[in-house]
Symmetry: C2
Subunit: 376 residues, 2 copies
């Protein structure tokens, strides 16, 4: 059983799907592990570290893929890679298939078994395999580091001989995994932190991190708050009042971090140009949803745009900006899943196609698209 | 009494010597305040904010300087500015005169009264005027923000479903004002922080911020520690043991921040290329002394140099990287000093040339160099 890990072909991708630690563990399961030269360089893993763990270094992608039973990647394979990977190979990556249906088709035609980690069900057993959470957590951290770097003031309150500097005001929109880590990191740096989320149940989580929850707390909110995580859609009247509250709140913020994503759909627009214009000059907005169209009007993917007097950062691949840690966790997520596909006695792949994790994540197999969201 | 504040002529200088708040206070003392158009723009202060405070906006440097009794600046005036400033004008700035003796001479020849804020005595009365401390404090903060931005891993320990990420190890060399703020900021971000200083008395301050003090704690150290802030020079034998300890400590660090300056002399070299080579790939070194020749071998002023597998950041004007806060405190420092030079009844300049703060800071007057460190 050969497991192959290429250098990622996308130039913005600094992560890698294997660490020396997971290499060692795969080898412990009886696998032969081959890593392309330089695959870990941007995640601070030298080839020698893989070799020390027992892996072999291959000089290029072609040699890496030759004879592989399993390919571990960060991003879905491109056309060149599909040519080099033999039919029937299990390719595990974050395929990001929504909106890229042609690429899913190409993977089916190439005959690979494409497994996408971003479809992993959010159940207890699969928490350790949850790449969306592990990477979103780091994106939330990095968003605050990026904001602090762009910001022309200090984050914490500082009491100095020359006078007191007031703390920065940070507002986090969307209190999922990324948003909660952004709240925690901004609090660490001493900012005054507030947050909002369409789920009233998020209030408790935001407050447990020391953030203030921004919401119109009327009767409708209170009912929804106690109804659990995925509450019913709020009324139009409520949404209007909430939007007004958020708009007036943004005008008083130094830093806004947006993290709102809807699976399989474009990101919702949360911050309008009018809201940006209401902010003080020099304020910073970090749009973590820019790869999905963005939460912020005027955000440009891959750039720090200046909209009026506000800087709007639309960094691509934010977890990749903190690649060493991101690869560490991503590789652990992959190991935890792939390990379940291996028969430890036979030391060979033995995929249970009826396992719910497998069914949820396999996109293509034996030349066909098999995932219900794309088949047909 | 006209107080003039130009746009700083140095392109790397984002700070400004006046804020709307200090403008208002000068005007309250009977001054007319003129600010050059755009002077505050890079510190997030629009012209309108100065106008609202009662200041007048002048279209260029020449108009700004015309008829001024006092000029407030961040950096010492260049040749063009000296031509535009009339003889006898009091020019208050951070003149940074050591190593720039020709410029001191030029200021004398221009007939201005050059007052340098960086010579302010470190006595209680002058704490509020201490620009070195106010700016070093912010440099220490920004050094950690810059390090976190360059670093490819998370600073805090993170306990996630995929496993635990260990905290970054940060070592601060020099526990003065900048070093102590760097320690505090790195602690805030969750790093494991250690520090060293040639003054054994710094141990207590480092530990009070939660940092570990790195020193050979032998009998000689313990005697020096209790001898107070400015202890005697340590023995050569002690220095050698301490250097070995520091070298072995650096090899285990992720981030090193150096802050060691000796007034009027080049910065001491603390980190050699051998020490950089001993660090893990991807480690970060921030050299806050780069403008004085640097504490780190291979540091390049104004650049992030790659030395082996380590990034060595030699950012210029680090307080200017956080210009809005830096200007706020700098302007307060200047106001606190200049206010003491004004006769509130007569609403005019009335400098007491025998005042110890004035004697310590005036470099040139009536066409001559008058400061004992440069006269002769």
């Amino acid at each position: 059983m050969k497991i192959a890990v290429p250098l990622e072909s996308d130039p913005v991708e600094a992560r890698v799907a294997l660490t020396p630690e997971t290499a060692k563990r795969f080898i412990g399961l009886g696998a032969e592990v081959v890593v392309q030269k330089g695959a870990g360089a941007l995640s601070r893993i030298p080839d020698e570290a893989y070799e020390k763990a027992g892996a072999t270094i291959a000089k290029d992608a072609k040699v890496t893929f030759t004879g592989a039973d399993v390919v571990l990647k960060v991003r879905r394979p491109n056309a060149d890679e599909l040519k080099a990977i033999k039919k029937g190979t299990l390719v595990v990556a974050t395929m990001d298939p929504f909106g890229h249906e042609d690429d899913v088709k190409a993977m089916a035609e190439a005959g690979i078994t494409a497994v996408t980690m971003d479809f992993m069900p959010r159940i207890t057993r699969a928490q350790v395999m949850d790449v969306l959470s592990s990477q979103a957590n780091l994106a939330g951290y990095q968003a605050v580091i990026d904001a602090a770097g762009l910001f022309d003031r200090a984050m914490p309150m500082m009491m100095t001989a020359a006078g007191t500097v007031s703390a920065a005001k940070v507002f986090v929109m969307g209190a999922g995994v990324a948003g909660l880590q952004a709240i925690a990191t901004a609090k660490r740096l001493g900012a005054i932190v507030s947050a909002t989320d369409v789920r009233p149940a998020a209030k408790e989580q935001v407050e447990s991190l020391g953030g203030r929850f921004i919401a119109v707390e009327d009767e409708e909110f209170k009912e929804a708050e106690t109804a659990g995580g995925y509450a019913k859609e709020m009324s139009d009247d409520y949404k209007k009042k909430q939007a007004e509250l958020v708009a007036s709140h943004i005008a008083k913020q130094d830093i806004v971090i947006t993290t709102a994503l809807i699976p399989g759909r474009p990101a919702p627009k949360l911050v309008t140009k009018e809201m940006l214009a209401s902010m003080q000059p020099g304020s910073i907005v970090i749009d973590l949803a820019v790869e999905r169209g963005g939460n912020v009007e005027g955000a440009v993917a891959g750039e720090v745009a200046t909209v009026g007097d506000v800087k709007v950062a639309g960094y691509l691949n934010v977890p990749g900006r903190i690649a060493a840690t991101a690869s560490l966790l991503y590789a652990k997520n992959l190991y935890a899943f792939v390990e379940t596909l291996i028969d430890k006695e036979a030391k060979a792949l033995a995929v249970d196609w009826e396992d719910e994790l497998v069914k949820a994540t396999v996109l293509t197999r034996d030349g066909s698209i098999v995932h219900p969201a794309f088949a047909g």
